[in-house]
Symmetry: C2
Subunit: 676 residues, 2 copies
């Protein structure tokens, strides 16, 4: 095995060719975004002898993926027939999706456990090695490693190799959701429709990433474009001598003035095409809402996010168009722009070192906030500097997710959120929270009232659903119909399709027992206006609807009706951004004016009870934020606090600086900070 | 007089037309850079009735200049004849320069005092009024206002009106230097050659300045591009919602790596054409050296500086080309680029409020550092924010200049230099400095040695010349020939041509007595190699040569010879930037290697004495810097310390923050600071 340092395309291809026997029947070697794709007419050989590929990966320190040569791929029709014939009937194939750009087929099945314990989403041939700078340790697959499991793994591996051999397509098995996800369909449809363009895009992204470096020294500057000393429009630009990376790209749902609603890209002055990559921490609107506008204005580079983040942000971005239409406004962007986002997005699993620029390596890790939410670890140069951006962070276990990762080999600069950064922002224990929640609801239901829970579709909604289902089944909560607006059920479906991003318990329930916690006899998904009427008819009920901050969406219609009755309750369970209707209601407004579709003003007197249950938040409380900073090793050189109202940011920055003696900045938007 | 607020071209022109009688024979009204030019066929009328123009100025709050209509301008030949005929012979006309873009002729004369006491450089029709935001108070002319003087003023005014009437050209009288200035000739020649282009440029600059504002609110961000926590490459970008202004544009003479030598414009990302204006505080290379490169790379906007700064920076920029050629290197830019700088430069007098962008007004005031050096006062929006950038600051009187101005109506943000910002940077008294200097030189001259004084051509050189002349004449200093390299004499000539920028005493010596302190029987200007040989021949002598930090220039040849003899002395009188040869010699190197023109390395053993006389500096010492900050009223909201080595910056920032309780920043290059 050659130990030559691989810096150029030639040397990379040289090393691969030197190390692959002719039996592998390699037909071409190409960039595929941040990976190197090896095309073969004999995939069985490379998959059965996977030491060959892992040896090359160790040598070139780049991600490699094995692809089948197009000439051996059967037609989709024939391949589908072979797959249906090969996979046992009782596994229950629900659908197949052929990704022609990659030569991959995803098979959605009802009962994957019949095939055996498969760890979904794992790209088995992507061998993650410890980076030479020690950036990331290997963490292949998320399953347990009991000998029984290893046996089962081998079994499924053999099946997949048989299938690749007989169809010429790489086969991935995925658990089918209880209801089909429209967003995932839209993602797949777009990928299929623009397969040729995506294929070209991935090659050209690779060429940019693996180009030789132009400068000798390294340095890094961070420009704050949004979400500093405020919540909303999270966005920052990381500039090195070689690269310009945008971290998050959100909007502020509570602001109307464009100078406050959108990231301040105007102060940067770069053409959008000069930006090398956009890295997205998670799907929420305040982190992804500006992405379609970025493409509308001409950005055509890659977007990196985790696998579930892509359909989730598509759902959220599509909803923004619907909400605008519902209010008779012109949407900021169209479906066409969202399609561009999908075409340019490259999804990455957690804990995988990926080159995203000639001098920057990216590793996503679990942030515990919502499905697919990630902390962003960026390694610059050759061990020169390491940055961790937490995104929205839950350092604490929830029903849905494990606690955020903290085990980074090196961090010099930490950029940490501070939504609950004030000293008094201490959350009650989980038991207390749930008991408060149950009691609060019971009181209303017993009086025959209705509880309206405004929730963001993604994150809190699923957590609340699990809690309600659990406590109703356990007899703690008064039984009542629970009406769930369609977008929430859609988001739940995306959760079920990505069990590897959930806690182990939940993953096992979904993959091994088919005990999907988001379907329950109490739940009714609202899809027609007749169901909406039913929900509002006399009698106790729980209604969950978006948006979570009363900024448009179906929640508004419920709100108008439910707010007028003293026996009803508006129950908030999530953070209310300054300037939103939700925040005003929570802060005690007893009368609000709503603009209806036809421009008429409707005054709503709020007679209903208003309450907020603290503790369901997907954000860390003050103690958790401080504990997280304290946990990072070796000692941080600098902390930058963002994503919080001014006084929260200042308080957290003050605490970190005083208690841990780390220089800590509390910048505003429109500042540039020299990292090193 | 209409009191309508003048916001648009139409309303401005409307107000002017409403208020000018038809007797004025106005033919057109046009932008001329930041001024509005009123063309007339009857200039006598407007000049004799100057209340008309000052009334309009008060109303529209814009600078107005009266121009003669081209149809009444006599040919240059005829006009010259009339001027020669009209001005008394014994005044001694040395030359005339016809600026065809403006219809102005400058008449250089030997003995202006015969005409009477003229305040040079004053544009008598530019009536400076107190701005409605109170930005600047009027300060027309720098002369005394005794009744005798007023009488003399009227006399010269009558002569100038007669001349404009008879020639159709506006006539300005200027004192001719003892030797002609090549740089001033180059400036004039360029202006003449590109008169049509300059005329168009000035109009288009005016259109940009007086365009309507695009945004409602205001804000300002300062990006540090060079000269922060370092000395060299001074440059910063001020961004408002409307405008982008570059303040200074220098290079670092001590750095070789482009990432350290040049302003970090690469982190800004704007096309150079997006920059609205460049404002230059003074002519030194570390504030102007990058200007030709800016034009080389496509900038085509205006450059604002004071009147003497233009020929001085031309001299310095031309010298850089010569120095590079002398060392066999390719220069960074060519004469063509310097010509672009000249074409695009708009000079402004001190204390005159000038619009340079739709939302920014500029006032230059005396900075006391070198000829024409200015503090930069920027007023943003309608009273929203005021910035003072000191440039290089001497808050203390010197032989040449008055102490820096401090009387600004409002300042919220002060950007102050810190070359001598450490607590121990306290300069001795002027008497002590001069006595040290005289003693130090006397010791060497009495032993028959030579004193080599490396000086920057502009600033310290003239100060030292005055001191030497004074003390030799007074009998304190041993009489010896003083050899002055040509570039220094050239700079002295520019001083003599701009007496209004010198102290009153010096101005009077030059304008009223013709006692030019830069010519002396002891002085020999070195123009030929034979004179250089003479300077190095056996026997005591003082040699003054550029560059001041031993970075190339004629000083190097002297250095090689003079350094080898223990009885000689290298006497530094100015700040030595880190990384320069001068700094190394001063820091105690006893052997240095010099690369000769043909690439050979020459080792020079330094046997000569090396000394630095502190106190001639054109910079404020620590006490003066602190006193200056303390002097500004009302209380500053923020101080930003720049232009100093890291520890000086930190010390001064610490002192200001601790003693005056003003938030003070000590940023590095590559930071952005939100001003408001």
């Amino acid at each position: 095995m050659s130990k030559v340092k691989a810096n150029s395309v030639q040397s990379i291809i040289g090393i691969i060719l030197q190390n692959i026997p002719s039996d592998a029947a390699v037909t071409k070697i190409e960039y595929e975004g941040p990976m190197i794709a090896i095309y073969t007419k004999n995939p069985r050989y490379l998959l059965e002898n996977n030491a060959i590929i892992s040896g090359i990966v160790k040598s070139i320190k780049k991600r490699i993926v094995v692809r089948t040569d197009e000439s051996i791929r059967k037609s989709e029709e024939d391949a589908r027939k072979i797959i249906i014939r090969t996979i046992p009937k009782d596994v229950g194939i629900v659908g197949t999706f052929f990704d022609t750009a990659l030569g991959e087929v995803t098979v959605e099945v009802k009962k994957p456990w019949i095939l055996t314990q498969v760890e979904e989403g794992e790209e088995e041939e992507v061998v993650v090695v410890e980076d030479r700078e020690g950036v990331s340790s290997a963490d292949v697959g998320a399953g347990s490693s009991s000998s029984q499991n290893i046996q089962k793994q081998k079994q499924i591996q053999a099946l997949l190799i048989d299938l690749i051999d007989s169809t010429g397509w790489k086969v991935r098995i995925r658990k089918a959701s209880h209801i089909p996800s429209e967003s995932m369909k839209q993602v797949n449809y777009t990928k299929k429709l623009f397969a040729n363009e995506r294929y070209r895009l991935l090659r050209s992204v690779g060429e940019s990433i693996f180009r030789p470096r132009l400068f000798e020294g390294t340095e890094a500057t961070l420009m704050t474009l949004g979400g500093f000393s405020e919540v909303g429009r999270s966005c920052m630009l990381l500039m090195t001598r070689e690269s310009k990376i945008l971290l998050d790209c959100g909007i502020n749902p509570g602001a109307s003035d464009p100078m406050n609603a959108f990231p301040r890209l105007d102060i940067v002055g770069f053409d959008l095409e000069e930006i090398d990559a956009v890295v997205i921490s998670h799907a929420h609107l305040d982190h992804t809402g500006f992405l379609p506008l970025l493409f509308k204005h001409g950005y055509r580079g890659p977007v990196y996010c985790t696998d579930p983040t892509l359909p989730l942000m598509t759902l959220i971005q599509m909803d923004m168009i619907k909400v605008a239409a519902g209010e008779g406004e012109l949407p900021l962007y169209t479906e066409r722009d969202i399609r561009e986002v999908i075409k340019h997005t490259i999804t990455l699993p957690y804990k995988t070192v990926t080159d995203i620029a000639p001098d920057i390596k990216l590793v996503f890790s679990n942030a515990g906030h919502i499905l697919g939410s990630a902390t962003v670890h960026l390694h610059i140069g050759n061990g020169d500097h390491n940055i961790v951006y937490t995104g929205d962070l839950k350092y604490g276990k929830s029903q849905l997710f494990d606690s955020a990762s903290w085990n980074y080999p090196r961090v010099e600069t930490l950029i940490i959120e501070s939504t609950y950064g004030a000293k008094e922002d201490i959350m009650p224990s989980r038991e207390e929270v749930e008991s408060n929640f149950v009691n609060s609801i019971n009181k209303v239901l017993m009086e025959g009232g209705k509880v309206l829970i405004p929730v963001p579709a993604v994150g809190r909604a699923q957590e609340i659903l699990m809690v309600i289902d659990h406590h109703m089944k356990a007899g703690n909560m008064v039984e009542a119909p629970v009406f769930i607006e369609g977008m929430i059920s859609e988001a739940s479906a995306i959760h079920v399709a990505h069990p590897e991003y959930l806690t182990r318990e939940l993953r096992q329930r979904i993959l091994e027992v088919d005990d999907n916690p988001f379907t329950s006899e109490y739940f009714t998904t609202v899809e027609h206006s007749s169901q909406r009427e039913e929900a509002l008819r006399e009698g106790p009920a729980i209604i969950m609807a978006t948006s979570g901050m009363l900024e448009g969406g179906p929640v508004i219609e419920y709100f108008k009706s439910i707010a007028r009755e003293p026996k009803n309750k508006i129950l908030f369970v999530s953070y209310q951004v300054n300037g939103t209707l939700g925040r005003r209601v929570l802060d005690g407004s007893r009368q609000v004016s709503l603009m209806s579709r036809d421009g008429k003003i409707e005054v709503v007197d709020i007679m209903a009870q208003v309450e907020k249950i603290e503790g369901f938040s997907g954000h860390s409380d003050y103690n958790q934020l401080m504990a997280y900073v304290n946990k990072l090793r070796p000692k941080l050189r600098r902390v930058i606090v963002n994503h919080g109202e001014r006084k929260k940011v200042e308080n957290l920055a003050g605490s970190i600086s005083r208690i841990f003696k780390i220089p800590t900045a509390a910048p505003m938007v429109r500042e540039a900070i020299r990292l090193y």
